[in-house]
C-alpha cells in the first residue's frame, strides 16, 4: 500500500559558526507498509517522525527519493492520491471561526462530497467519536480530548484508505487514549492502513503490527514489537549500580535468575519480561534526549 524508497529531506540550516549549510531531517529512508496494517514510527524527539509524515502527506516536498501509494508515484498523482489519504496532525488545526459541524462540512466540501452524503457522513462520524452533542459549538469550546476525537472524525470523513496520525494521543487522559486506540483498531479491521508516529512506547506495543525505529533521520530497525523483545532477550534483569540503573537481557529465564542471584542484593534487583521500551532505548542510545 505504501512504498517508500530512499527518501531524503534536507532543510537549510545555520551552523554554530553561522555558516549556511543543510540539515538532513530524513536520511535515505526505505520501507513498505501492507494494506490494513497498523504501522508505527518510533523515535526520540527530533528523529524526523513529523517530517516523514509531512513528506508522506504532501505538505512538504522530498529532496530526493520516491513515495508510492497503490503503485502510484506521489509526485505525479498528487491530487488523485490526496483523496485516498486522511491526516490527523499532531497539533489541533481547526478553523477557529467555524463550529464543529462547519469544520467537518468544510472538509467534506474540500473533498468534493455531495450534500446528502456530507450530512449523513457527518452525523455518522460525530456519533462514532461521541461528539454529536457539541455539533453546533465553536471548536474553541471543546476540551483537549474532544478536539483530538474531532480531528480523527474529520480525517475519516472522506473514507480514506490510508490514515496518517502524528502522535494521535499526545497529552491525553488514559481513558481517552484507550478509546482512541479502540478507534484505530476498528479502522484497521475495516481495511484502512494506519501509519502513526508516537513516542509512547506502550502505544506502539499494544497497537502496531510492525514498528520502525527512527533515530537522527535514519531507520535503525524495523520489526514486530514481539520480535524486538525476542531479539534483545525475553527476560530483563535490572538493578541499581553506582552509575545508576543497569539492565541486562537474557533469552532464558534460568540464565536471568542466575545472573540476578550473583548481583549485590540490596532489594533493587528486578526480573521482568523485556518490553519495547528496552529495545527502543538499546537502539537509540541511553544518553539520547537527556
Amino acid at each position: 500500500m505504501i512504498q517508500i524508497e530512499n527518501l531524503v529531506k534536507k532543510f537549510p540550516h545555520k551552523t554554530k559558526m553561522g555558516k549556511n549549510s543543510e540539515k538532513t531531517a530524513v536520511d535515505n529512508l526505505s520501507l513498505s507498509v501492507k494494506a490494513g496494517e497498523i504501522f508505527g514510527l518510533l523515535g526520540p524527539n527530533g528523529a524526523g517522525k513529523t517530517t516523514t509524515i509531512r513528506l508522506l502527506t504532501m505538505q512538504t516536498q522530498p529532496t530526493s527519493g520516491s513515495i508510492q501509494y497503490r503503485g502510484l508515484e506521489l509526485s505525479k498523482h498528487a491530487q488523485e492520491l490526496k483523496s485516498i489519504i486522511g491526516v490527523v496532525p499532531q497539533h489541533v488545526n481547526f478553523d477557529q471561526d467555524l463550529t464543529v459541524r462547519e469544520n467537518l462540512e468544510l472538509h467534506a466540501r474540500l473533498h468534493h462530497m455531495k450534500q446528502a452524503e456530507r450530512q449523513q457522513r457527518i452525523e455518522e462520524l460525530l456519533s462514532y467519536v461521541e461528539l454529536a452533542e457539541v455539533v453546533n459549538d465553536g471548536v474553541r469550546r471543546l476540551s483537549g480530548g474532544m478536539k483530538r476525537r474531532l480531528l480523527i472524525a474529520r480525517a475519516l470523513l472522506h473514507r480514506p484508505r490510508i490514515l496518517f496520525m502524528d502522535e494521535p494521543t499526545v497529552a491525553l487522559d488514559p481513558q481517552v487514549r484507550r478509546r482512541i486506540w479502540q478507534l484505530i483498531r476498528q479502522m484497521a479491521r475495516d481495511g484502512v492502513t494506519v501509519f502513526l508516529t508516537t513516542h509512547y512506547i506502550e502505544e506502539a506495543e499494544s497497537l502496531c503490527n510492525r514498528v520502525a525505529i527512527l533515530n537522527k533521520g535514519k531507520l535503525v530497525a524495523m520489526d514486530t514489537p514481539q520480535n524486538f523483545c525476542e531479539k534483545l532477550g525475553r527476560y530483563t534483569v535490572e538493578w541499581d549500580d553506582s552509575d545508576g540503573r543497569e539492565y541486562e537481557f537474557f533469552a532464558e529465564k534460568q540464565a536471568a535468575a542466575a545472573f540476578a542471584g550473583r548481583q549485590e542484593g540490596d532489594g533493587s534487583i528486578l526480573i521482568r519480561p523485556t518490553n519495547l521500551e528496552d529495545a527502543f532505548i538499546e537502539l537509540t542510545g541511553r544518553r539520547e534526549g537527556i
Binding site: T57, M58, Q59, T60, Q61, Q79, E80, K82, S83, I85, V87, P89, H91, N93, F94, D95, Q96, D97, L98, E102, L106, H107, R109, L110, H111, H112
Partner: protein
C-alpha cells in the same frame, strides 16, 4: 475547479454572515469621520477645480477604503497559516491550488464592495454628487482585487504578526494619504509625483474621480490596474504553491 472556488468562498461567507451587523456598523465609522472632518469641517474652506470638496473627496475615500478593507479582509489567512495552521486543510485537500487564491480574493472583494456600498449611501446622505457607471464599478473591483492579492502575498510570505502590521504602516498608510485621495497628485513635487503615479491606488483615485464627475479619462489607467491584478495573482498563486516546498 469552480466548485473548489465556491468552497473557499463559502467558508468566508459563513463567517461574514455571522458577523454581518457588527461588520456593517464598524465599516460606517471611518468613512463617517472622513466625511465629517474633511467634507463638512475642512472642506468648506477648500476650493477645487469644479464642484465642492466633498464631491472631490468621495471617490478618494472609496479608493482608499476599498484598498484597506480588501487588504485587511485577507490578513486572517496569515493567522490561519502561522498560528491556527488551518491552512493545512486546504493543502491536504484534492483541490486546484489556485481555487484557494481566487476564493479568498473574491471573499475579500465582497467585503470591500459591501463597505463601499455603505460609503456611497453615506456620501449621498451628506449631499455629494457623483455618477456611477459600469466602468466605475469595474475600477473599484480591480482595486479590491489588487489589494486583496497584496494582502494574500503578505500572508504567505510574512513570518510574524508584528511584521504583518508593518505592511499596513509602511505601504497602506502612506498610500492612503498620497495617492490622489485627499488632494490631486499635481500638488506634489515632480520627483515624488512620478513615483506616486506608478502606484495602483493613484490610478484608482484618478479613474473613480474622472468617471464620477463625468469627465474624460485615460483608459491606459484601467490597463495599469488590470496589469497589477494579473501580476498580483501570479505572485499569489506561486507563493501559495511554495508553501509545500
Amino acid at each position: 475547479m469552480l466548485y473548489d472556488i465556491w468552497t473557499v468562498f463559502w467558508r468566508d461567507w459563513v463567517v461574514l454572515k455571522r458577523r454581518m451587523t457588527k461588520f456593517i456598523l464598524s465599516r460606517m465609522v471611518a468613512p463617517m469621520l472622513y466625511l465629517v472632518a474633511f467634507g463638512w469641517g475642512l472642506g468648506r474652506s477648500i476650493q477645487v477645480g469644479s464642484g465642492t470638496y466633498l464631491d472631490f473627496l468621495v471617490p478618494g475615500i472609496l479608493a482608499l477604503n476599498s484598498m484597506n478593507i480588501s487588504f485587511n479582509s485577507i490578513t486572517p489567512v496569515h493567522a490561519e497559516r502561522i498560528y491556527h495552521k488551518s491552512l493545512e486543510e486546504y493543502i491536504l485537500a484534492p483541490i486546484w491550488p489556485d481555487a484557494f487564491v481566487i476564493g479568498k480574493v473574491l471573499a475579500a472583494v465582497l467585503r470591500s464592495l459591501l463597505s463601499s456600498a455603505i460609503i456611497v449611501i453615506l456620501a449621498l446622505a451628506f449631499g455629494a454628487h457623483f455618477i456611477m457607471t459600469p466602468l466605475f464599478l469595474l475600477v473599484l473591483v480591480l482595486n479590491c482585487i489588487i489589494f486583496a492579492e497584496i494582502g494574500f502575498i503578505a500572508a504567505m510570505k510574512i513570518r510574524t504578526y508584528e511584521e504583518m502590521s508593518q505592511v499596513n504602516t509602511y505601504i497602506l498608510l502612506p498610500m492612503s494619504f498620497l495617492c490622489g485621495t485627499f488632494f490631486s497628485t499635481q500638488a506634489l513635487p515632480d520627483f515624488l509625483r512620478y513615483i506616486i503615479e506608478l502606484l495602483p491606488l493613484t490610478h484608482t483615485s484618478y479613474l473613480l474621480r474622472g468617471i464620477g464627475s463625468g469627465s474624460e479619462i485615460a483608459l491606459a489607467s484601467v490597463l495599469v490596474l488590470a496589469a497589477y491584478a494579473v501580476l498580483g495573482f501570479a505572485i499569489g498563486s506561486r507563493s501559495f504553491r511554495r508553501l509545500t516546498r
